[in-house]
């Protein structure tokens, strides 16, 4: 297995690979650091594409099948690039009891995509979360990572329309 004896070259000159490499070094460049490294890739690039997955798997000497298994097992990892804006609607119990399902239905109708998809123009991704732990403010949504509590349908639609109009 000669190909595994040396560290493969990064897929590109992009400086963000240096961050990924640093994480791999910190976790001892073994399979133990797989999830940590994938977190770093996603943090740096926004998603994990096949090229990145191949690079990480080869660097950590993990079979590509196993790396792919891990990426697809955990909901947090995504293989597709996210939209320019992301709207996360929490579907935790407290949010559900307070009508988060209606929020999702309205957002799906407005954007004309299903939860988990991105609009065809790449502007908005509609995502659901299991629970973001802000149940005291239910129902909650995250607009580009910023949490808004006790959200109502008009407020949600206004935000989404604002993004789509840009």
């Amino acid at each position: 297995m000669a190909m595994y004896t040396t560290h493969p070259a990064a897929p590109s000159q992009d400086k963000r690979w240096k961050l990924v490499d640093a994480t791999m070094r910190r976790t001892g460049k073994t399979s133990r650091g797989l999830i940590e490294t994938l977190h770093k890739v996603q943090e740096a690039f926004g998603y994990i594409d096949e090229e990145a997955l191949r690079y990480v798997a080869m660097s950590l000497r993990v079979p590509l099948s196993r790396a792919y298994g891990v990426v697809t097992f955990y909901h947090f990892f995504t293989l597709k690039p996210p939209g320019k804006h992301t709207c996360v609607i929490c579907l935790g119990t407290a949010c559900y009891i307070k009508g988060a399902d209606k929020l999702i239905a309205e957002a799906e109708k407005l954007l004309n995509v299903k939860a988990g998809q991105t609009t065809p123009n790449g502007e908005v991704s509609l995502v659901t979360a299991r629970c973001v732990g802000a149940c005291g403010r239910a129902p909650v949504a995250l607009f580009d990572g910023e949490l808004s509590g006790q959200i109502e349908v008009p407020q949600l639609l206004e935000q989404l329309q604002g993004w789509s109009a840009q």
Partner: protein, 550 residues
């Protein structure tokens, strides 16, 4: 670091506080931050400077009442004056608040929460809302790390375990396994490199106790882990936190760095031969990773699938070594037990459930937020006295505890006193502490379907009963909620519940029928109304013809 040095840090921190006449604490937990409590803090700081008053504006962790956020707490230091709490504070209120210091509290901002704090007893949350979570000195001033020094210098590992066992503390993650017994097993196990893991993979939807504790008082959890590591003889520690909790991760990272710099973690801790280091591992959104063997697999960099037990992690865990896994809240209870003694702790609570429990009170209840109550208090006290009951004149229907593994408890059982055993006998469980109140507008069959959908999606797929059983149960519940269910379906559902409960590999599968079983037990009439009369008593479910169903 030794006892004297600790004392010096504490008195220096106290002197620092004495310099100010007033202390204004601003809650900067996730709940209040989402309502821009950071802006409130900034404008309070500016207003304090402008007024010339000697006033310290402090960032703190969660003050509990998320519904009334952003919260501000006025603490006149070292006087007998009562604390003043303000709710729904806006940055424009800053000047008025600073002006009122030393005078009458502002009635307009008083959120009327007397009932909320009465009846609560704070042990785990004693520092939440009072200290800056990223300042080690403030934690030390509130008796922080005293328990660690005491354990390291005055107690043997065996004595520490005996103390924890005598306190009667049981695992706060939901299972309720006696903590002392678990520690004892790990301590006695043979292994070169034992590990201590803190389970902060709070996956239960509707629960945020661990997030709040990690955000508000991270050093308390670190201290608990250190004492545990000393007791069981571990050198390596991990805190597994959900990636969905960025603020908790940030505060924990800062706390770990500070603790390492001051010599509380690392090599030769507190001038002894004890070595221990802690690393953070991020979860990646898999509910099953709350199960201990799945969590271990995840830390090892693999898919988070559970494995059969025994061998238990206490014997063969992370990297095949004996491993101690406890929940965040369990570790948060350790330092006070060592500091104040097992007897103090066991004086709280019931015969078999000692101490206090933190609950995340949410749903259709007036005052949503984080509460900590002594075990043995009734559900009615929590929901009505502390939570203020159901808003908008609606009628209470049920309270859901234990997340997707728990059940719904109806009104007849509201006088049940909270303990591990009482909740199980009522068909639910303690769980990690989510408590969701439902009113008459919630359909219990729909709620059961919601939880089954959760378990079906989160099933890791390793064992057949869980993978296929949850799918089938969800299919039947879907049929019932679209008015296509039959009496035969109901019988099949009951049979499946029994099968999945008894044959699944891990806790996720074994407990996944609980929401169905408990709603069947208390709300069977709602199921029957859907099936026989094709109507939903709560008006949630709508009839959909078989063919149109998705």
């Amino acid at each position: 670091m030794n006892g004297e040095e600790l004392q010096r840090i504490a008195s220096a921190a106290l002197d620092e506080r004495k310099k100010f006449d007033y202390e204004v604490n601003v809650c900067m937990g996730t709940g209040c931050l989402s309502q821009h409590s950071d802006h409130v803090r900034d404008s309070l700081t500016k207003a304090a400077e402008a007024s010339g008053k000697s006033c310290h504006v402090r960032r703190t962790g969660c003050m509990g009442l998320c519904a009334a956020g952003p919260m501000v707490l006025i603490e006149p230091p070292l006087t007998e004056q009562a604390e003043v709490r303000y709710g729904h504070v806006h940055e424009s209120d800053a000047t008025e608040i600073v002006d009122s210091l030393g005078g009458e509290p502002i009635a307009r901002l008083n959120p009327q929460l007397e009932g909320y704090f009465k009846g609560q007893h704070h042990v785990v949350l004693e520092n939440s809302g009072h200290i800056d979570p990223e300042k080690l000195d403030e934690y030390v001033e509130h008796d922080g790390y005293k328990a660690l020094i005491r354990a390291l210098t005055e107690m043997t590992p065996r004595q520490v375990i005996a103390e924890i066992a005598a306190s009667g503390l049981r695992g706060r993650g939901g299972g309720g396994y006696p903590t002392g017994l678990k520690w004892d097993t790990v301590a006695k196990a043979n292994g070169a490199q034992k590990c201590v893991i803190c389970n902060g993979d709070e996956g239960d939807p509707g629960a945020f106790m661990d997030r709040s504790v990690l955000e508000s008082d991270p050093h308390r959890v670190i201290e608990g882990m250190l004492i545990a590591a000393y007791a069981v003889g571990a050198q390596e520690g991990y805190i597994y936190v959900r990636a969905e909790y960025p603020l908790a991760v940030q505060r924990l990272t800062a706390a770990l760095r500070e603790a390492r710099r001051r010599g509380f973690i690392g090599k030769g801790i507190c001038e002894t031969t004890f070595n221990f280091d802690i690393d953070i591992r991020l979860g990646a959104g898999a509910f099953v990773c709350g199960e201990e063997t799945a969590l271990i697999a995840s830390i090892e960099g693999q898919r988070g699938t559970p494995r059969p037990r025994p061998p238990y992690p206490a014997v063969r865990g992370l990297w095949g070594e004996p491993t101690l896994i406890n929940n965040v809240e369990t570790y948060a209870n350790i330092a006070p037990i060592i500091r104040k003694g097992a007897q103090w702790f066991s004086s709280m609570g019931t015969e078999r459930s000692k101490g206090t429990k933190v609950f995340a009170l949410t749903g259709k209840v007036r005052r949503t937020g984080l509460v900590e109550v002594p075990m043995g208090i009734t559900l009615r006290q929590v929901v009505f006295d502390i939570g203020g009951g159901v808003p908008d004149g609606k009628k209470f229907k049920a309270v859901q505890t234990g997340g997707p593994s728990g059940g719904c408890i109806p009104e007849e059982y509201l006088d049940l006193s909270i303990s591990y055993d009482a909740l199980i006998s009522a068909g639910s469980m303690m769980g990690s502490g989510g408590m969701i109140v439902m009113d008459e507008t919630s359909c219990m069959v729909d709620v059961a379907k919601y939880f089954m959908d959760f378990c079906m999606t989160e099933s890791c797929g390793k064992c057949v009963p869980c993978r296929v059983g949850t799918y089938q149960m969800h299919r039947i519940l879907n049929a019932i909620t679209t008015m296509n269910g039959t009496a035969k379906d109901l019988a099949m559902l009951e049979e499946l519940c029994d099968l999945v409960k008894h044959t699944s590999l891990c806790g996720l599968g074994q407990s996944s029928p609980n929401p169905v079983l408990s709603t069947l037990r208390y709300f069977k009439h709602e199921y029957l109304a859907h099936i026989e009369e094709h109507r939903c008593p709560a008006g949630v479910c709508k009839a959909i013809a078989e063919g149109e169903r998705v």
